[in-house]
């Protein structure tokens, strides 16, 4: 039985969960979209973190094995990729079924219904093939989120299929939009043993690992059945008030990002967190205690959501924006980061003949300029500077930020970790460990949110 502390960060667009062990080491991380439902997002993120923790324990076990030890790393990579693939394929299957159901519910006349069915079959077959490539060991998925990956691939395939079949593109997009929300409101974590079986079977089919199949299967089974004892949970983020936690178990995300950043980079003194709805400039002391902060007012200009709107306008996934912007040779100067006018502005610039990548480079720079103003208001940037939150994954933002920080405050160490998006959840888990007032051992995931609506609760307990 392993003891752990959990931090859950219910952000406005993504929900993150982190498991810490008794020595404050990260055991597992989980992340999911939270745009549909906080209750479910919280549950899924926690389950993902738990699975991630199991993978961590499995890795240790395999590394310690005298027979497999040296192969542990490539083996884990194969297992992880195939686990993710199994999960993705299952979600694609569900999405396909939902799309068909929506089409039937719309009572489309024949032969349109038949053509739509055919188009969906072709699209999802292509998506499954693509998934095999995306989740192949060695390749990394462009996004952690099913919605992002599915959206960009679906749109591409829908464009192609409408050239061959008499089906309208708008019809296909409409079906997808209705279906994806339903899929997002499902938890697939109950299937994790099946995913593990799938991953194990594929791994042990590999000639390198086949001789150890029995030992691998036993190790997988053992870690899959481990029980975690939760000593305390702390929640943070935009939706934290929906958690049925005691007062001591709710922490502001400003404090969590401060403490989380300090944990990851002990010498950091300034933290910038750009999340979905908020941007926060935070100053911390040598112990990770927040000494001052500034945040955007009610307007979400320049926050992650803005990038979401831009991606929607361009009919691409949000994860594709940064790479596209980095291709720019001549960024367009953009001053406004108004989320409401994002679409109109984009179209206006396109109509003037500006290139997509140049517009995007300008937009990314505008976001950073807004963040620079908040940083200045919070007291400036001190070394080391840490960038956290979901937008820290966007390389066009990070390179722009780096440039502007150096220009304004001089050369200094800038920390951007692949774990940046988990900073708030790490901080929350640390609060759970350090201030264990509200012990919530054995709290069931389905109890995690207040007033879960009946449909969701049924899904949770299923």
């Amino acid at each position: 039985m392993d003891c752990c502390y959990i931090g859950i960060d219910l952000g406005s667009t993504t929900t993150k969960a982190v498991f810490l062990d008794e020595h404050e080491r990260i055991m597992g991380r989980g992340i999911t979209n939270s745009r549909s439902n906080y209750a479910l997002a919280c549950q899924v993120a926690r389950e993902e973190a738990e699975i991630n923790a199991r993978f961590g324990l499995l890795r240790k076990k395999l590394e310690a094995s005298t027979s497999i030890g040296a192969l542990a790393e490539p083996l884990m990579a194969v297992l992880a990729c195939n686990y993710a693939l199994a999960q993705h394929l299952e979600q694609l299957k569900a999405l396909h079924a939902e799309c068909q159901e929506v089409a039937h519910a719309h009572a489309l006349p024949q032969p349109e219904l038949a053509n739509v069915g055919l188009a969906l079959d072709r699209i999802f077959s292509a998506l499954a093939t693509q998934a095999e490539l995306d989740f192949h060991p060695g390749s990394t998925a462009a996004s952690d989120f099913f919605r992002d990956l599915a959206t960009s691939q679906y749109l591409k395939q829908a464009t192609a299929v409408t050239r061959e079949l008499p089906v309208s593109f708008d019809r296909l997009v409409g079906l997808f939009d209705a279906a994806i929300i339903r899929v997002e409101n499902h938890s697939f974590a109950g299937l994790y043993r099946e995913y593990l079986e799938f991953a194990t079977a594929r791994a042990t089919a590999d000639a390198r690992f086949a001789p150890f199949a029995a030992e691998i299967a036993a190790a997988v089974k053992e870690t899959a059945e481990l029980r975690f004892t939760v000593l305390n949970i702390v929640g943070t983020g935009y939706g934290r008030l929906t958690l049925p936690f005691a007062r001591e178990q709710i922490r502001s995300e400003i404090l969590c990002h401060g403490l989380g950043a300090h944990y990851m980079f002990p010498d950091t003194r300034t933290v910038l967190d750009i999340g979905g709805q908020d941007t926060k400039a935070i100053q911390v002391d040598g112990d990770g205690i927040v000494t001052g902060f500034q945040m955007n007012d009610r307007c979400a200009a320049g926050c992650g959501r803005y990038l979401g709107y831009i991606a929607d306008e361009m009919s691409i996934g949000v994860h594709e924006l940064g790479p596209l912007a980095l291709q720019s040779k001549k960024p367009v100067k953009i001053n406004s980061t108004c989320t409401v006018f994002a679409g109109a502005e984009l179209r206006e610039l396109m109509s003037l003949g500006e290139k997509r990548e140049d517009i995007l480079a300008g937009l990314h720079r505008a976001i950073v300029l807004r963040a620079m103003s908040l940083l200045a208001r919070s007291g400036g940037v001190d070394s080391e500077f840490t960038f956290t939150g979901g937008v820290a994954r966007n390389q066009a933002v990070t390179s722009s930020l780096e440039k502007l920080v150096f220009e304004n405050y001089g050369k200094m160490k800038i920390n951007i970790s692949t774990d940046s998006i988990f900073t708030g959840a790490v901080g929350a888990a640390l609060f759970a460990k350090r201030d264990p007032k509200g012990v919530m051992a054995d709290l069931e995931v389905s109890q995690l949110a207040k007033n879960p609506d009946c449909g969701i609760a049924a899904t949770c307990s299923a």
Binding site: I254, L255, D287, I289, V290, T291, F293, M295, D297, G379
Partner: protein
Amino acid sequence: MNAEVQKEESMVLQKKMIGEHFETLSKAGESGRKVVYTFVPGNLNELILAFDLLPVHPEVNALQSGMRKLSGDYIQEAEKQGHSEDVCTYVKCDIGMLKKGNIGPTGEKLPPPDLLLLSYTGCFTFMKWFELLKQEYGCPVVMLQVPYQAEGKITASQREFVARQLRDVVVPALEQVSGKKLDEDRLKELLASSARAEDDLVYVWESAKHKPSPIDAYFGGVYYIGPIFTAFRGLPSCEAYYRELRREVDYRIAHGMGPTTPEGELRQQKYRIVVEGPPNWTSFRDFWKIFHDEGVVMVASTYTKVGGLYEQGFRHDPARPFETLAEYCLGCYTNRNLPARVDIIAKYVEEYEADGILFNSIKSCNSFSAGQLMMLRELEKRTGKAGAFIESDLVDPRYFSAANIKNRLESYFQMLEAKRQAA
């Protein structure tokens, strides 16, 4: 918000005073009494009363409309007339109220002004506001020009400059409107009464030095300043109000009690905070509740000094009627420069043993808000106390983002807690 609002005797008294005043105003047309519109900072209430004129304070009407959830409609009405979204929402609320029939806070119609008495202290928008009202009502405006305290102190020539205008411009204008000569003895009587009420008010402010504090000097404080900053200063009813208030405060001190709030008595006082900037009126109770729920008591505030910094030693002095009125106008909080404002707040932090400093920056009030962040930085440096910065508005409900403000405040209080535990 289901809790019954607790009312103390002083609150009942104030309500009665206000009710009677607005009833008198509504009958001004029949009774033939003349009406003067004027502003709170640097108001010349004793002088107005000495002529038996009736004062109306448009910014108080605006804040009352905000508390009664009417300001949103009034502001929209003013915007329909062409007023911009970004200008002072007190102005737009007042203009909107006027366009919708000029019904005051008690539901009775307000009389039009016979004179607009513009005492120009610290707020540059006041001038434009009365320019707009002049256009609406076609009545005369008299302007008392009060020099800004750029040096951080009142000079003899500034005092003389204001006093001379009072004698040569304001008094003749009031004489003309009222049809009466100034009775200087009456003015002195009123000033003496003001000073007595001011003594009691200062006692009330300073009671916040006790632990637990028997008052909330911001949320409660805005009620405490009602009579003295508006139509009542100089009247026996005002003196009676502050005597009663002082008695209530003494009672709470003697019994170790905290202030009365809409949620009941604030018992557990975890943090003592000094506040700069006006409160948000449209979500006043929600705003107050955030602090109450966190066990926060406001031990001093600057907004409650916009109509006079009595606790810094100023008293209306009947022996020098014009000079004392001049000093009063010059000494208003909004007429002080930024270093002087920092000095005042730093002194509060020290004297009231505050844990932190909160700034509420007002979206539509550049006069109050310009330079506030610089002030906060300076205060943090000087006092070693952590500051918080939130942004809302006076009476525009569109500018109050409850989730955003709650987030900032909760973070701030958790930050104070973390600092306290680390110390």
